[in-house]
Protein backbone atom coordinates (compact mmCIF):
# COMPACT_ATOMS: atom_id res chain seq x y z
CA UNK A 1 0.00 0.00 0.00
CA UNK A 2 1.03 3.54 -0.65
CA UNK A 3 0.35 5.72 2.32
CA UNK A 4 -0.49 9.31 1.70
CA UNK A 5 -0.73 12.08 4.22
CA UNK A 6 -3.79 14.26 3.76
CA UNK A 7 -4.94 11.56 1.35
CA UNK A 8 -5.71 13.12 -2.00
CA UNK A 9 -9.09 12.28 -3.37
CA UNK A 10 -8.72 8.57 -4.18
CA UNK A 11 -11.17 8.97 -7.01
CA UNK A 12 -8.76 11.35 -8.74
CA UNK A 13 -5.92 8.89 -8.19
CA UNK A 14 -7.97 6.09 -9.74
CA UNK A 15 -8.77 8.31 -12.70
CA UNK A 16 -5.13 9.29 -13.13
CA UNK A 17 -4.00 5.68 -13.23
CA UNK A 18 -6.82 4.82 -15.60
CA UNK A 19 -5.86 7.67 -17.93
CA UNK A 20 -2.28 6.40 -18.03
CA UNK A 21 -3.21 2.75 -18.52
CA UNK A 22 -6.55 2.70 -20.35
CA UNK A 23 -5.27 2.63 -23.95
CA UNK A 24 -2.94 -0.29 -23.20
CA UNK A 25 -5.68 -2.10 -21.28
CA UNK A 26 -8.30 -1.63 -24.01
CA UNK A 27 -5.77 -2.69 -26.65
CA UNK A 28 -4.84 -5.82 -24.69
CA UNK A 29 -8.48 -6.75 -24.07
CA UNK A 30 -9.44 -6.14 -27.69
CA UNK A 31 -6.88 -8.77 -28.66
CA UNK A 32 -8.52 -11.19 -26.21
CA UNK A 33 -12.18 -10.61 -26.96
CA UNK A 34 -11.69 -9.40 -30.56
CA UNK A 35 -14.18 -6.59 -30.12
CA UNK A 36 -13.06 -3.02 -29.42
CA UNK A 37 -16.40 -1.88 -28.04
CA UNK A 38 -16.58 -4.78 -25.62
CA UNK A 39 -12.93 -4.32 -24.66
CA UNK A 40 -13.63 -0.73 -23.73
CA UNK A 41 -16.62 -1.76 -21.61
CA UNK A 42 -14.58 -4.40 -19.79
CA UNK A 43 -11.84 -1.84 -19.12
CA UNK A 44 -14.51 0.46 -17.71
CA UNK A 45 -15.65 -2.41 -15.46
CA UNK A 46 -12.13 -2.63 -14.07
CA UNK A 47 -12.19 1.11 -13.44
CA UNK A 48 -15.45 0.70 -11.52
CA UNK A 49 -13.90 -2.08 -9.40
CA UNK A 50 -10.98 0.21 -8.58
CA UNK A 51 -13.34 3.03 -7.68
CA UNK A 52 -15.12 0.66 -5.28
CA UNK A 53 -12.09 -0.98 -3.73
CA UNK A 54 -9.31 1.60 -3.54
CA UNK A 55 -11.06 4.13 -1.28
CA UNK A 56 -11.68 1.38 1.30
CA UNK A 57 -8.54 -0.77 0.97
CA UNK A 58 -6.08 1.87 -0.14
CA UNK A 59 -4.35 2.38 -3.48
CA UNK A 60 -2.41 -0.76 -4.46
CA UNK A 61 1.36 -0.42 -4.58
CA UNK A 62 1.38 -1.23 -8.27
CA UNK A 63 -1.85 0.39 -9.47
CA UNK A 64 -1.15 0.07 -13.20
CA UNK A 65 -0.62 -3.71 -13.27
CA UNK A 66 -3.50 -4.06 -10.78
CA UNK A 67 -5.89 -2.41 -13.21
CA UNK A 68 -4.55 -4.43 -16.13
CA UNK A 69 -4.87 -7.72 -14.20
CA UNK A 70 -8.39 -6.88 -13.03
CA UNK A 71 -9.43 -5.99 -16.57
CA UNK A 72 -7.93 -9.21 -17.96
CA UNK A 73 -9.85 -11.24 -15.37
CA UNK A 74 -13.03 -9.58 -16.52
CA UNK A 75 -12.19 -10.49 -20.10
CA UNK A 76 -11.41 -14.09 -19.16
CA UNK A 77 -14.69 -14.33 -17.26
CA UNK A 78 -16.43 -13.05 -20.32
CA UNK A 79 -14.70 -15.59 -22.57
CA UNK A 80 -15.58 -18.40 -20.14
CA UNK A 81 -19.22 -17.40 -20.11
CA UNK A 82 -19.16 -17.38 -23.89
CA UNK A 83 -17.45 -20.76 -23.90
CA UNK A 84 -20.04 -22.22 -21.51
CA UNK A 85 -22.77 -20.82 -23.65
CA UNK A 86 -21.22 -22.43 -26.70
CA UNK A 87 -20.91 -25.75 -24.92
CA UNK A 88 -24.54 -25.65 -24.02
CA UNK A 89 -25.32 -24.84 -27.61
CA UNK A 90 -23.10 -27.69 -28.75
CA UNK A 91 -24.91 -30.03 -26.37
CA UNK A 92 -28.14 -29.09 -28.02
CA UNK A 93 -26.21 -29.95 -31.14
CA UNK A 94 -26.29 -26.69 -32.94
CA UNK A 95 -23.10 -24.80 -33.12
CA UNK A 96 -19.76 -25.99 -34.23
CA UNK A 97 -18.62 -22.94 -36.08
CA UNK A 98 -18.73 -20.64 -33.04
CA UNK A 99 -16.70 -23.00 -30.90
CA UNK A 100 -13.85 -22.90 -33.38
CA UNK A 101 -13.37 -19.21 -32.82
CA UNK A 102 -12.08 -19.55 -29.28
CA UNK A 103 -8.65 -21.03 -29.03
CA UNK A 104 -6.96 -21.89 -25.76
CA UNK A 105 -7.28 -18.72 -23.72
CA UNK A 106 -4.16 -19.00 -21.50
CA UNK A 107 -1.99 -18.66 -24.61
CA UNK A 108 -3.71 -15.44 -25.49
CA UNK A 109 -3.12 -14.04 -22.04
CA UNK A 110 0.54 -15.04 -22.00
CA UNK A 111 1.18 -13.50 -25.36
CA UNK A 112 -0.44 -10.20 -24.42
CA UNK A 113 2.47 -8.19 -23.16
CA UNK A 114 4.60 -8.90 -26.20
CA UNK A 115 2.08 -7.32 -28.52
CA UNK A 116 1.15 -4.20 -26.67
CA UNK A 117 2.69 -1.87 -29.28
CA UNK A 118 0.98 -3.62 -32.16
CA UNK A 119 -2.28 -3.70 -30.24
CA UNK A 120 -2.14 0.04 -29.57
CA UNK A 121 -1.65 0.57 -33.30
CA UNK A 122 -4.60 -1.69 -34.08
CA UNK A 123 -6.64 0.33 -31.61
CA UNK A 124 -5.69 3.64 -33.27
CA UNK A 125 -6.49 2.35 -36.74
CA UNK A 126 -9.82 0.97 -35.51
CA UNK A 127 -10.79 4.22 -33.79
CA UNK A 128 -10.08 6.08 -37.04
CA UNK A 129 -11.73 3.46 -39.26
CA UNK A 130 -13.12 4.86 -42.54
CA UNK A 131 -16.58 3.43 -41.78
CA UNK A 132 -16.91 5.96 -38.94
CA UNK A 133 -17.87 9.62 -39.19
CA UNK A 134 -15.20 12.20 -38.41
CA UNK A 135 -16.99 13.11 -35.19
CA UNK A 136 -17.03 9.47 -34.10
CA UNK A 137 -13.36 9.02 -34.99
CA UNK A 138 -12.51 12.02 -32.83
CA UNK A 139 -14.65 10.84 -29.90
CA UNK A 140 -13.35 7.26 -30.02
CA UNK A 141 -9.74 8.37 -30.34
CA UNK A 142 -9.97 10.71 -27.37
CA UNK A 143 -11.85 8.17 -25.32
CA UNK A 144 -9.88 5.00 -26.09
CA UNK A 145 -6.42 6.37 -26.84
CA UNK A 146 -6.47 9.65 -24.93
CA UNK A 147 -8.17 8.21 -21.86
CA UNK A 148 -10.65 11.09 -21.71
CA UNK A 149 -14.01 10.67 -20.04
CA UNK A 150 -17.14 11.33 -22.06
CA UNK A 151 -17.93 14.48 -20.07
CA UNK A 152 -14.40 15.79 -20.68
CA UNK A 153 -14.79 15.29 -24.43
CA UNK A 154 -18.19 16.98 -24.34
CA UNK A 155 -16.84 20.02 -22.46
CA UNK A 156 -13.91 20.38 -24.84
CA UNK A 157 -16.15 20.23 -27.90
CA UNK A 158 -18.83 22.49 -26.45
CA UNK A 159 -21.48 19.82 -26.64
CA UNK A 160 -23.44 17.64 -24.21
CA UNK A 161 -22.29 14.44 -22.58
CA UNK A 162 -25.35 12.66 -24.01
CA UNK A 163 -24.33 13.64 -27.54
CA UNK A 164 -20.81 12.30 -27.10
CA UNK A 165 -22.12 9.10 -25.49
CA UNK A 166 -24.43 8.61 -28.43
CA UNK A 167 -21.58 9.17 -30.85
CA UNK A 168 -19.42 6.59 -29.11
CA UNK A 169 -22.27 4.09 -28.91
CA UNK A 170 -23.08 4.56 -32.60
CA UNK A 171 -19.42 4.19 -33.50
CA UNK A 172 -19.15 0.91 -31.60
CA UNK A 173 -22.30 -0.36 -33.31
CA UNK A 174 -20.95 0.62 -36.71
CA UNK A 175 -17.68 -1.19 -36.05
CA UNK A 176 -19.61 -4.31 -35.02
CA UNK A 177 -22.07 -4.08 -37.91
CA UNK A 178 -19.33 -3.57 -40.49
CA UNK A 179 -17.44 -6.50 -39.01
CA UNK A 180 -14.33 -4.34 -38.53
CA UNK A 181 -11.65 -6.69 -37.28
CA UNK A 182 -9.10 -5.72 -34.66
CA UNK A 183 -6.15 -5.77 -37.02
CA UNK A 184 -3.66 -3.60 -38.86
CA UNK A 185 -4.67 -2.43 -42.31
CA UNK A 186 -3.11 -4.40 -45.18
CA UNK A 187 0.06 -2.73 -46.55
CA UNK A 188 -1.73 -1.39 -49.61
CA UNK A 189 -4.17 0.52 -47.40
CA UNK A 190 -1.67 1.82 -44.85
CA UNK A 191 -0.99 5.21 -46.52
CA UNK A 192 -4.67 6.13 -46.70
CA UNK A 193 -5.49 4.74 -43.26
CA UNK A 194 -2.49 6.47 -41.69
CA UNK A 195 -3.54 9.73 -43.33
CA UNK A 196 -6.94 9.32 -41.64
CA UNK A 197 -5.29 8.78 -38.25
CA UNK A 198 -3.03 11.81 -38.67
CA UNK A 199 -6.01 13.84 -39.88
CA UNK A 200 -8.01 12.95 -36.78
CA UNK A 201 -5.17 13.88 -34.44
CA UNK A 202 -4.56 17.19 -36.23
CA UNK A 203 -8.27 17.94 -36.15
CA UNK A 204 -8.26 17.50 -32.36
CA UNK A 205 -5.24 19.80 -32.17
CA UNK A 206 -6.90 22.48 -34.30
CA UNK A 207 -10.09 22.30 -32.26
CA UNK A 208 -7.96 23.23 -29.26
CA UNK A 209 -5.92 25.76 -31.19
CA UNK A 210 -9.05 27.60 -32.33
CA UNK A 211 -10.38 27.96 -28.79
CA UNK A 212 -11.52 31.49 -28.14
CA UNK A 213 -10.69 33.62 -25.13
CA UNK A 214 -13.01 32.80 -22.26
CA UNK A 215 -13.62 29.25 -23.52
CA UNK A 216 -13.42 26.48 -20.98
CA UNK A 217 -9.81 25.53 -20.29
CA UNK A 218 -10.46 22.02 -21.57
CA UNK A 219 -10.55 23.37 -25.12
CA UNK A 220 -6.93 24.51 -25.43
CA UNK A 221 -6.11 21.38 -23.41
CA UNK A 222 -7.11 19.44 -26.54
CA UNK A 223 -3.84 20.67 -28.11
CA UNK A 224 -1.90 18.90 -25.38
CA UNK A 225 -4.04 15.77 -25.83
CA UNK A 226 -3.40 15.77 -29.58
CA UNK A 227 0.35 16.29 -29.13
CA UNK A 228 0.41 13.43 -26.63
CA UNK A 229 -1.33 11.17 -29.17
CA UNK A 230 1.15 12.30 -31.83
CA UNK A 231 4.07 11.40 -29.59
CA UNK A 232 2.52 8.00 -28.84
CA UNK A 233 2.09 7.37 -32.57
CA UNK A 234 5.65 8.50 -33.31
CA UNK A 235 6.85 5.90 -30.80
CA UNK A 236 4.74 3.19 -32.44
CA UNK A 237 5.63 4.08 -36.04
CA UNK A 238 9.16 5.44 -35.81
CA UNK A 239 9.77 4.87 -39.53
CA UNK A 240 6.90 7.04 -40.78
CA UNK A 241 8.16 10.52 -41.71
CA UNK A 242 4.73 12.13 -41.65
CA UNK A 243 4.04 10.97 -38.09
CA UNK A 244 7.16 12.83 -36.97
CA UNK A 245 6.18 15.68 -39.30
CA UNK A 246 2.77 16.06 -37.66
CA UNK A 247 4.23 15.82 -34.17
CA UNK A 248 6.82 18.46 -35.07
CA UNK A 249 4.12 20.70 -36.51
CA UNK A 250 1.98 20.44 -33.36
CA UNK A 251 4.89 20.95 -30.96
CA UNK A 252 6.02 24.03 -32.91
CA UNK A 253 2.54 25.52 -33.19
CA UNK A 254 1.85 24.86 -29.51
CA UNK A 255 5.11 26.60 -28.60
CA UNK A 256 3.44 29.89 -29.59
CA UNK A 257 0.33 29.29 -27.51
CA UNK A 258 1.05 31.83 -24.77
CA UNK A 259 2.01 34.56 -27.25
CA UNK A 260 -0.98 34.14 -29.54
CA UNK A 261 -3.32 36.36 -27.57
CA UNK A 262 -2.85 39.63 -25.74
CA UNK A 263 -3.88 40.38 -22.17
CA UNK A 264 -7.45 41.00 -23.32
CA UNK A 265 -7.59 37.71 -25.19
CA UNK A 266 -7.34 39.28 -28.65
CA UNK A 267 -5.30 37.36 -31.25
CA UNK A 268 -1.77 38.59 -31.91
CA UNK A 269 -0.38 37.95 -35.41
CA UNK A 270 2.73 35.82 -35.70
CA UNK A 271 5.06 38.68 -36.62
CA UNK A 272 3.77 40.83 -33.76
CA UNK A 273 4.13 38.15 -31.08
CA UNK A 274 6.45 38.56 -28.13
CA UNK A 275 8.87 35.77 -28.98
CA UNK A 276 10.20 35.69 -25.41
CA UNK A 277 6.90 34.03 -24.54
CA UNK A 278 7.43 31.18 -26.98
CA UNK A 279 7.95 27.84 -25.27
CA UNK A 280 11.60 26.94 -25.90
CA UNK A 281 11.18 23.35 -24.68
CA UNK A 282 8.41 22.67 -27.21
CA UNK A 283 10.45 24.39 -29.93
CA UNK A 284 13.41 22.16 -29.17
CA UNK A 285 11.20 19.06 -29.23
CA UNK A 286 9.53 20.22 -32.44
CA UNK A 287 12.86 20.79 -34.17
CA UNK A 288 14.05 17.34 -33.03
CA UNK A 289 10.89 15.69 -34.39
CA UNK A 290 11.33 17.59 -37.67
CA UNK A 291 14.93 16.36 -37.90
CA UNK A 292 13.62 12.77 -37.49
CA UNK A 293 11.15 13.34 -40.32
CA UNK A 294 13.88 14.78 -42.54
CA UNK A 295 16.20 11.85 -41.87
CA UNK A 296 13.50 9.49 -43.09
CA UNK A 297 13.31 11.03 -46.55
CA UNK A 298 11.09 13.45 -48.40
CA UNK A 299 8.79 15.58 -46.29
CA UNK A 300 5.04 15.22 -46.76
CA UNK A 301 2.40 17.90 -46.16
CA UNK A 302 2.76 17.82 -42.35
CA UNK A 303 6.54 17.74 -42.48
CA UNK A 304 6.61 20.71 -44.86
CA UNK A 305 4.26 22.72 -42.67
CA UNK A 306 6.46 21.84 -39.71
CA UNK A 307 9.53 22.97 -41.67
CA UNK A 308 7.80 26.31 -42.30
CA UNK A 309 6.86 26.63 -38.62
CA UNK A 310 10.49 25.81 -37.80
CA UNK A 311 11.69 28.79 -39.88
CA UNK A 312 9.68 31.06 -37.60
CA UNK A 313 10.73 29.18 -34.47
CA UNK A 314 14.43 29.55 -35.34
CA UNK A 315 14.16 33.31 -35.85
CA UNK A 316 14.68 35.16 -32.59
CA UNK A 317 13.27 38.32 -34.19
CA UNK A 318 10.88 38.67 -37.16
CA UNK A 319 13.69 40.34 -39.13
CA UNK A 320 15.77 37.16 -38.91
CA UNK A 321 13.07 35.07 -40.61
CA UNK A 322 14.34 33.11 -43.61
CA UNK A 323 11.52 34.13 -45.96
CA UNK A 324 13.22 32.73 -49.05
CA UNK A 325 13.23 29.29 -47.44
CA UNK A 326 9.62 29.68 -46.34
CA UNK A 327 8.62 30.65 -49.89
CA UNK A 328 10.47 27.61 -51.28
CA UNK A 329 8.76 25.32 -48.72
CA UNK A 330 5.34 26.70 -49.67
CA UNK A 331 6.21 25.99 -53.30
CA UNK A 332 6.92 22.35 -52.36
CA UNK A 333 3.76 22.21 -50.26
CA UNK A 334 1.68 23.47 -53.19
CA UNK A 335 2.95 20.48 -55.18
CA UNK A 336 2.20 17.78 -52.58
CA UNK A 337 -0.98 19.37 -51.21
CA UNK A 338 -2.22 21.92 -53.74
CA UNK A 339 -4.54 24.54 -52.30
CA UNK A 340 -5.28 28.19 -52.92
CA UNK A 341 -4.61 28.97 -49.25
CA UNK A 342 -1.12 27.53 -49.61
CA UNK A 343 -0.60 29.73 -52.69
CA UNK A 344 -1.76 32.76 -50.74
CA UNK A 345 0.70 31.97 -47.96
CA UNK A 346 3.41 31.55 -50.58
CA UNK A 347 2.50 34.99 -51.95
CA UNK A 348 3.02 36.52 -48.50
CA UNK A 349 6.38 34.74 -48.10
CA UNK A 350 7.52 35.77 -51.60
CA UNK A 351 6.41 39.29 -50.77
CA UNK A 352 8.75 39.24 -47.78
CA UNK A 353 11.62 37.51 -49.61
CA UNK A 354 11.55 39.21 -53.03
CA UNK A 355 9.55 42.34 -52.36
CA UNK A 356 5.85 43.23 -52.41
CA UNK A 357 5.55 43.40 -56.22
CA UNK A 358 6.50 39.72 -56.58
CA UNK A 359 4.00 38.74 -53.89
CA UNK A 360 1.26 40.84 -55.47
CA UNK A 361 1.75 39.06 -58.78
CA UNK A 362 0.90 35.72 -57.13
CA UNK A 363 -2.14 37.15 -55.31
CA UNK A 364 -3.44 38.68 -58.52
CA UNK A 365 -2.98 35.30 -60.22
CA UNK A 366 -5.26 33.77 -57.58
CA UNK A 367 -7.86 36.50 -58.14
CA UNK A 368 -7.70 36.02 -61.89
CA UNK A 369 -8.46 32.33 -61.37
CA UNK A 370 -11.40 33.24 -59.16
CA UNK A 371 -9.84 31.56 -56.12
CA UNK A 372 -10.67 32.40 -52.50
CA UNK A 373 -13.30 34.98 -53.48
CA UNK A 374 -14.87 34.97 -50.00
CA UNK A 375 -11.68 34.46 -48.00
CA UNK A 376 -10.95 37.59 -45.91
CA UNK A 377 -7.23 36.89 -45.74
CA UNK A 378 -6.85 37.33 -49.48
CA UNK A 379 -7.81 41.04 -49.55
CA UNK A 380 -5.95 41.47 -46.24
CA UNK A 381 -2.75 40.07 -47.76
CA UNK A 382 -3.23 42.12 -50.90
CA UNK A 383 -3.80 45.25 -48.79
CA UNK A 384 -0.58 44.58 -46.91
CA UNK A 385 1.41 44.24 -50.17
CA UNK A 386 -0.19 47.34 -51.70
CA UNK A 387 0.58 49.36 -48.62
CA UNK A 388 4.24 48.40 -48.82
CA UNK A 389 4.18 49.47 -52.49
CA UNK A 390 2.94 52.88 -51.37
CA UNK A 391 -0.51 52.39 -52.94
CA UNK A 392 -2.35 53.51 -49.78
CA UNK A 393 -5.84 54.14 -51.16
CA UNK A 394 -6.00 50.74 -52.86
CA UNK A 395 -4.65 49.11 -49.70
CA UNK A 396 -7.38 50.68 -47.54
CA UNK A 397 -10.05 49.45 -49.97
CA UNK A 398 -8.68 45.91 -49.65
CA UNK A 399 -8.76 46.07 -45.84
CA UNK A 400 -12.36 47.31 -45.99
CA UNK A 401 -13.15 44.28 -48.16
CA UNK A 402 -11.43 41.99 -45.66
CA UNK A 403 -13.40 43.55 -42.77
CA UNK A 404 -16.66 42.94 -44.63
CA UNK A 405 -15.78 39.29 -45.32
CA UNK A 406 -14.57 38.09 -41.93
CA UNK A 407 -16.93 36.58 -39.41
CA UNK A 408 -14.45 36.94 -36.58
CA UNK A 409 -15.18 40.05 -34.55
CA UNK A 410 -11.63 40.79 -33.40
CA UNK A 411 -10.31 40.27 -36.92
CA UNK A 412 -12.96 42.62 -38.24
CA UNK A 413 -11.83 45.33 -35.82
CA UNK A 414 -8.23 44.85 -36.93
CA UNK A 415 -9.07 45.10 -40.64
CA UNK A 416 -11.45 48.03 -40.11
CA UNK A 417 -8.71 49.94 -38.28
CA UNK A 418 -6.38 49.51 -41.22
CA UNK A 419 -9.13 50.37 -43.71
CA UNK A 420 -9.48 53.69 -41.90
CA UNK A 421 -5.76 54.27 -42.50
Amino acid sequence: MTTTDSAPDVRRVVEAVYRIESARIIAALARMVRDVGLAEELAQDALVVALEQWPARGVPDDPGPWLMATAKHRAIDHLRRQENYRRKLAVVGRDVELAEQTSAEPDIVDALDDHIGDDLLRLIFTACHPSLTTESQVALTLRMLGGLRTDEIARAFLTTEATVSQRILRAKKTLAKEGVRFELPPPSEVPARLAAVLGTIYLIFNEGYSAAAGDDWSRPQLCADAIRLGRVLAGLLPGEAEVHGLTALMELQASRMAARTDADGRPVLLLDQDRRRWDRLLIRRGLTALAHAEELGTLGPYGLQAAIAACHARALTPAETDWARIAALYQLLSHVAPSAVVDLNRAVAVGMADGPAAGLEIVDGLIARGELAAYPHLPAARGELLERLGRGAEARAEFARAAALTRNETERELFARRAAG
Binding site: T2, V13, A16, I20, R231
Partner: protein, 122 residues
Protein backbone atom coordinates in the same frame (compact mmCIF):
# COMPACT_ATOMS: atom_id res chain seq x y z
CA UNK B 1 -0.08 20.88 -17.26
CA UNK B 2 3.64 20.86 -16.90
CA UNK B 3 5.50 19.64 -13.84
CA UNK B 4 9.14 19.63 -12.87
CA UNK B 5 10.31 16.80 -10.68
CA UNK B 6 13.37 17.48 -8.60
CA UNK B 7 14.96 14.50 -6.92
CA UNK B 8 17.02 14.86 -3.76
CA UNK B 9 18.55 11.68 -2.36
CA UNK B 10 20.95 10.14 0.10
CA UNK B 11 22.75 7.47 -1.87
CA UNK B 12 23.91 4.26 -0.16
CA UNK B 13 27.64 3.51 -0.33
CA UNK B 14 26.90 0.64 -2.70
CA UNK B 15 26.81 1.42 -6.43
CA UNK B 16 23.34 1.52 -8.02
CA UNK B 17 22.37 -2.04 -9.01
CA UNK B 18 22.34 -2.76 -12.74
CA UNK B 19 18.78 -3.99 -12.32
CA UNK B 20 17.74 -0.54 -11.09
CA UNK B 21 19.44 1.24 -13.95
CA UNK B 22 17.66 -1.03 -16.45
CA UNK B 23 14.32 -0.44 -14.73
CA UNK B 24 14.85 3.34 -14.77
CA UNK B 25 15.60 3.27 -18.48
CA UNK B 26 12.51 1.14 -19.13
CA UNK B 27 10.27 3.47 -17.15
CA UNK B 28 11.74 6.46 -19.00
CA UNK B 29 10.97 4.76 -22.30
CA UNK B 30 7.41 4.07 -21.17
CA UNK B 31 6.82 7.67 -20.11
CA UNK B 32 8.32 8.93 -23.37
CA UNK B 33 6.21 6.52 -25.41
CA UNK B 34 3.15 7.73 -23.50
CA UNK B 35 4.02 11.25 -24.62
CA UNK B 36 4.26 12.67 -21.10
CA UNK B 37 8.01 12.84 -20.40
CA UNK B 38 9.34 15.92 -22.16
CA UNK B 39 12.83 16.22 -20.77
CA UNK B 40 15.05 14.74 -18.10
CA UNK B 41 18.69 14.51 -17.07
CA UNK B 42 20.90 13.44 -14.23
CA UNK B 43 22.77 16.05 -12.21
CA UNK B 44 26.47 15.81 -11.38
CA UNK B 45 27.46 15.93 -7.68
CA UNK B 46 27.26 19.44 -6.24
CA UNK B 47 31.06 19.45 -6.15
CA UNK B 48 30.85 20.35 -9.85
CA UNK B 49 28.45 23.23 -9.16
CA UNK B 50 28.36 26.49 -7.26
CA UNK B 51 26.00 28.47 -5.10
CA UNK B 52 25.31 32.14 -5.66
CA UNK B 53 23.77 33.80 -2.62
CA UNK B 54 22.26 37.22 -2.04
CA UNK B 55 21.93 38.13 1.60
CA UNK B 56 22.04 41.36 3.56
CA UNK B 57 22.59 43.32 0.34
CA UNK B 58 25.69 41.32 -0.58
CA UNK B 59 26.30 38.69 -3.22
CA UNK B 60 28.62 35.75 -2.71
CA UNK B 61 29.65 32.81 -4.85
CA UNK B 62 30.58 29.53 -3.15
CA UNK B 63 31.90 26.53 -5.05
CA UNK B 64 30.37 23.11 -4.32
CA UNK B 65 30.09 20.68 -2.66
CA UNK B 66 27.20 22.02 -0.62
CA UNK B 67 26.87 21.05 3.02
CA UNK B 68 23.37 19.50 2.67
CA UNK B 69 22.98 15.84 3.60
CA UNK B 70 21.00 15.12 0.44
CA UNK B 71 22.26 15.71 -3.08
CA UNK B 72 20.16 16.83 -6.03
CA UNK B 73 20.23 13.80 -8.30
CA UNK B 74 18.11 14.52 -11.32
CA UNK B 75 15.26 16.45 -12.81
CA UNK B 76 12.44 15.54 -15.15
CA UNK B 77 9.80 17.57 -16.94
CA UNK B 78 6.38 15.97 -17.41
CA UNK B 79 3.29 17.16 -19.24
CA UNK B 80 0.11 15.56 -17.91
CA UNK B 81 -3.58 16.34 -17.79
CA UNK B 82 -3.75 16.32 -14.01
CA UNK B 83 -1.46 16.60 -11.01
CA UNK B 84 -2.41 13.07 -9.94
CA UNK B 85 -0.98 11.68 -13.19
CA UNK B 86 2.32 13.44 -12.57
CA UNK B 87 2.32 12.09 -8.99
CA UNK B 88 1.72 8.58 -10.34
CA UNK B 89 4.69 8.77 -12.73
CA UNK B 90 6.93 10.17 -10.00
CA UNK B 91 5.77 7.46 -7.58
CA UNK B 92 6.64 4.75 -10.08
CA UNK B 93 10.13 6.20 -10.38
CA UNK B 94 10.54 6.34 -6.61
CA UNK B 95 9.21 2.80 -6.09
CA UNK B 96 11.82 1.38 -8.45
CA UNK B 97 14.54 2.79 -6.21
CA UNK B 98 12.81 1.69 -3.03
CA UNK B 99 12.47 -1.87 -4.33
CA UNK B 100 15.82 -2.26 -6.03
CA UNK B 101 18.37 -0.29 -3.99
CA UNK B 102 18.39 -1.07 -0.27
CA UNK B 103 19.12 1.91 1.95
CA UNK B 104 18.25 4.51 -0.65
CA UNK B 105 16.32 7.45 0.79
CA UNK B 106 15.04 10.35 -1.18
CA UNK B 107 12.54 13.09 -1.70
CA UNK B 108 11.03 13.96 -5.03
CA UNK B 109 9.53 17.40 -5.29
CA UNK B 110 6.84 17.86 -7.84
CA UNK B 111 6.47 21.50 -8.85
CA UNK B 112 3.96 22.84 -11.30
CA UNK B 113 5.29 25.03 -14.08
CA UNK B 114 3.12 28.10 -14.45
CA UNK B 115 1.00 27.83 -17.56
CA UNK B 116 -1.82 29.73 -19.25
CA UNK B 117 -4.29 27.75 -17.10
CA UNK B 118 -2.92 29.56 -14.04
CA UNK B 119 -4.01 32.87 -15.50
CA UNK B 120 -7.51 31.75 -16.50
CA UNK B 121 -10.38 33.82 -15.18
CA UNK B 122 -12.30 31.71 -12.66
Amino acid sequence: MRYVMLLEATQPATPPPAELMAAIIKLGEEATAAGVLLDNAGLAPSQAGAKITVTGGGLSVTDGPFAETKEMISYAVYETRTKEEAVEWASRFMKLHRDLWAGWEAECRLLKVMGPEDFQQP
